[in-house]
Every structure is written in structure tokens, then in C-alpha cells.
């Protein structure tokens, strides 16, 4: 097992704020890892510490086994970071920007890879355009391209799809999935939990600078969230008291909600409802989603998660 990122007992304080409080995390090479948390949880500080933009007060961080402080040059060559802010250098064209960024990492004669990135991010037609003239979405694509230009084995995307259109998201995720399939380790922070659920195989949730949940996406969904059978009864059924006959049933706005874990629980549940005199007028099955997990973890319904 090759460790792509190792974070050990990392602490960082900004004035009165404890931004990171003893964070421990290990990410294996080839993982598609999600780092989630509310605003101010410490996600960007952790990424910045990994990238050398923030110096931690305690603990240590390494990228591909290389300490980000002691061996910063080698560590940075192996890391590509897409910053959260939409920043750009207004003096240069897209191609110049990428060639310059490539040169900073000591990679020369990189035109073939730059062309490939431009093609994959649908930027080829804008290659000669000045950065100032690009739309927000296009600037975001260039930020992604800049992070990839030196072919880093570890790629960190800090909210890369914030405020961008569906087309870019699809283009971006197609390319990032391909890089992940080629062996690149991906670390993603996002507030779009559906994206994290679909893309990430493992997820850490941060709250007030501490990791409050860390597990595979499937396990988190299983442990913190359940399928939900939602149904509405026909008016003829009158006031059937489902809460009494079916354990865990709750009513919300005229809909009855029945949480369940396995699909073979559904039929007995429906039989119970029929026995109680209920006539079903409408029915849906809701899948477990990461939003439920996120809310429950952040509200502290489960103090600590396994794997910590």
C-alpha cells in the first residue's frame, strides 16, 4: 500500500480560532477522497498546509512520503492544487499561463500535455485568449489545468465546481475520473454532497478543525442513513394510525415515512399497512444520501465514527 497523503496530529491556530485540532488522516494512492465540512471547518486550511501555503503549529504532513516542510520541493512537485478562489494573472493568455506554470515546476517542452489538458477541459478554442476575457467558468477550467500541468500524482480540488455550470462539471468530472483511473490520487472538497457521494470512495468530515467522521462512502451511507419508504394514504382510509402499527413510522405533511435498511423489509411493511386498513394512494422509495449523513454527523447524532 502506497500512502499518497499522510497527516499526523496537525494543529493550527489563527489568533483565537483553532483552525485544525489534532487532525490525523491517511489517504492511499489511487483513492478518490472527499473532504467535507461546513464553512470554517478547516478544509481549506488543511489543504493549504499540505500545499505549504500555511505553516502548521504542530504535527506533520507528507505527500507521497515526502515531508511538506523538510522536503518541500520534492513534495510540491507531486502535488497539484486547484485553489478555491477564482484567481488569475491578467497579463497572459491561457497557453502562456499554462506554459509558465509548467516552467515553475521545472517541466519544459510540455506542449503535448498542455494540448491534451486544453482538449479535455474544452479550452482549446480559448488557448490564445487573454485570461481577462474569459468567463468565470472558463477561468475555473484554467485553474484546473494549471494544477494538472506538471502531471502530479496527487491532485487536490478545493471546491472546483463552486458556481459553475453543468457542462463544466460534467467535463471536469469526466477528466478527473480518467486521471483517477490512471492512478492519480484525488482529494475533493465540495459543498455539493451529491458530487462527493457519486465520486468519492472514502470521505472524511471535518467540524471545527477535527475529523468527526471517516469511512468509506458506502459505510457512511449505511451507518448514518437508511432507505425511506414514503407513502400517502387514500382519503377513504380515514385516520389510520400507522404510527401505532408500524415501528419507526413518522408523518410529515401528509406523507408517512418508514425507514428501512433492506428491500425485503418493504413487503411485510406494506402488508402491515393493509392490515391496519390503509389504502395507498401514492408511494416512493428514497435512497440514502450523503446530505442526511452530513447533517446527522454535524449535528453530533453520532459522536465518533469508526475508523478514527
Amino acid at each position: 500500500m502506497i500512502i499518497a497523503i499522510r497527516i499526523q496530529q496537525v494543529g493550527k491556530r489563527f489568533g483565537q480560532t483553532q483552525a485544525l485540532d489534532g487532525v490525523d488522516l491517511t489517504i492511499e494512492q489511487g483513492e478518490f477522497f472527499g473532504l467535507l465540512g461546513p464553512n470554517g471547518a478547516g478544509k481549506t486550511t488543511l489543504i493549504s498546509a499540505l500545499a505549504g501555503l500555511v505553516r502548521v503549529d504542530s504535527g506533520c504532513l507528507s505527500v507521497m512520503g515526502l515531508d511538506v516542510q523538510q522536503d518541500y520541493q520534492a513534495a510540491r512537485r507531486r502535488l497539484g492544487v486547484v485553489p478555491q478562489e477564482l484567481v488569475f494573472d491578467p497579463f497572459f493568455s491561457v497557453r502562456e499561463t499554462l506554459k509558465i506554470q509548467s516552467g515553475y515546476f521545472g517541466v519544459r517542452n510540455n506542449d503535448a500535455w498542455i494540448d491534451e489538458i486544453l482538449d479535455n477541459l474544452d479550452l482549446r478554442s480559448k488557448a490564445q485568449a487573454n485570461m481577462r476575457t474569459l468567463s468565470g467558468g472558463m477561468k475555473r477550467r484554467v485553474l484546473v489545468a494549471q494544477a494538472l500541468v506538471h502531471r502530479p500524482p496527487v491532485i487536490v480540488l478545493d471546491e472546483p465546481t463552486a458556481g459553475v455550470d453543468v457542462e463544466l462539471r460534467q467535463t471536469l468530472w469526466r477528466f478527473i475520473r480518467r486521471l483517477n483511473a490512471d492512478g492519480h490520487t484525488i482529494v475533493l472538497t465540495t459543498h455539493y454532497l451529491e458530487e462527493a457521494e457519486n465520486l468519492c470512495t472514502r470521505i472524511a468530515m471535518l467540524k471545527a478543525g477535527r475529523i468527526v467522521a471517516l469511512d468509506s462512502t458506502a459505510n457512511l451511507l449505511r451507518r448514518f442513513s437508511a432507505h425511506t419508504l414514503r407513502l400517502r394514504l387514500a382519503p377513504a382510509a380515514g385516520g389510520v394510525a400507522l404510527a401505532e402499527c408500524c415501528a419507526g413510522a413518522t408523518e410529515q405533511g401528509g406523507w408517512w415515512l418508514f425507514p428501512f435498511d433492506r428491500f425485503d423489509e418493504v413487503e411485510p411493511l406494506l402488508a402491515q399497512i393493509r392490515q391496519a386498513g390503509g389504502v395507498i394512494a401514492d408511494l416512493e422509495i428514497g435512497k440514502p444520501d450523503l446530505e442526511d449523513v452530513f447533517l446527522r454527523v454535524m449535528q453530533g447524532q453520532d459522536g465518533r465514527a469508526d475508523g478514527l
Binding site: F14, S48, A51, G52, L53, V54, R55, Y72, Q73, A74, R76, R77, L79, V81, P83, E85, V87, F88, D89, P90, F91, F92, E96, I100, Q101, G103, Y104, F105, G106, V107, R108, Q146
Partner: protein
Amino acid sequence: MGYSGFYTLFYKEVLRFWKVAFQTVAAPVLTAVLYLLIFSQVLAEHVAVYGTPYASFLIPGLVMMSVLQNAFANSSSSLIQSKVLGSIVFVLLPPISYREFFAAYVLAAMVRGVVVGLGVLLASACFAPLMFEHPWWIATFALLGGALLGSLGVIAGIWADKFDQLAAFQNFLIMPLTFLSGVFYSIHSLPPIWRELSRWNPVFYMIDGFRYGFFGVSDIAPWWSLSVVASCLLALSALSLRLLRTGYKLRA
């Protein structure tokens, strides 16, 4: 690998000012030529320094002033701009060492200073005869002066958080130091108190040593000027490198 990071940063800094050369090269050349026209016209009949016409005396001072001001402007404005815009992250993420960072910014500042200085020299040569008694002194002081103000620009660019802080640095420190450094006069023409105060101005030594290269005459011995300039350069470089090494205002 490291060499390429440095080279690319240097190239980017030169390309940055060259892309807006009308503003960064042509404008200061025009300003210096206007100074020359106005001052030489007004004072030509009244002043001769070192036995040379006033316009000829004035030109090296204006050239050096342009070198210094533009070297400072290049590194300081590039840094503050990228800090305010947030694009500084593009040079902080790569494996560029603090020494390479410093060298790239200062070298690019020197290039801009020398390019503007040459522009002023060429343009003003049309208005008055010039001598080049000691070309090596001219080159030495131009390069050291450019490096010194380039370093000061790095410090100012790192220290300033906003454009107005940098403007204050420029207007309340750089401008007075350059204008009160003997660009327009010999300090021998000053009252004793001002003459003494001028000796505490490092820019005075840069101008005086540079002018020595043209006329072979100066207010202060050129080796003494060289020592002062080199000492100031070492001190500012050390401070600048320290700020970069510790990540002051760049890395949280």
C-alpha cells in the same frame, strides 16, 4: 529543475512589464525627457557643474533616477498586484525556493530599470553632448542601484497589503530619497546642513558614482560610493531573503 523554476519566474516577470511597455518603459522615458527639457532650458544659462553644461550634468542623474524608480516599481507592483488579485498562489505552490524567488524578482527589476535607463539615455543624448569616461563604473552603479531598489521593492511588495500602502512607500520614501539625492544638483552647491544630510541618503551615492562614470568627476570618491551602495544592497537583500524564508505575509 530548480534552475527552470527560477528562469520561468524571471521570464514571467520580464514578460509582464514588457506586455505593458507603453506604461512601464515609454512613459517613464517621456517623463525623464520632460524633466531634462524643462530644467535644462530654465537653468542652462545659469548653472554649469564640473565645468560641463547643465543639461549634460543632468542626464546621468535622470538616467539613474529612472533606473532606480523603475526597478522599485517593477518588483513592488508585481508583488502587490498578485497579492491583491490572489494570483501570488501560482508562485507559492511550485517548488521555487525563496532564494530563486528573490533572484527572479530582483533580476527582472534590474532589467526593467536598465531598459528604461537606456531609453532615457538614448532620448536625452539628442539634447546634450555626453562623455563616457569610465563605462564600467556606469554599468556597475546602474546594476547595483537597480538590484538595491529591486530588493527594496520586494520588501515593500511583501509588506504592503493594499495599493495605497505601497503608494505611500513610493511617495514618502522613494521619491524624496531620489529627488534629494543630487539628481538635479551637486551637493557642493547646498548649504552645509543639507550637504551633511545628503550624505545619509544612500541614493546620493548611487547617483554620484554613476555620474562619475560619465564625467570622471564626483562629489565623493567612487570607491567610497561603491562601498556604501554594496553595503546597503547586502543589508536589504538579507532582509528581503529573511522575509521570504519566513514566509512573512505570504505564507500564513
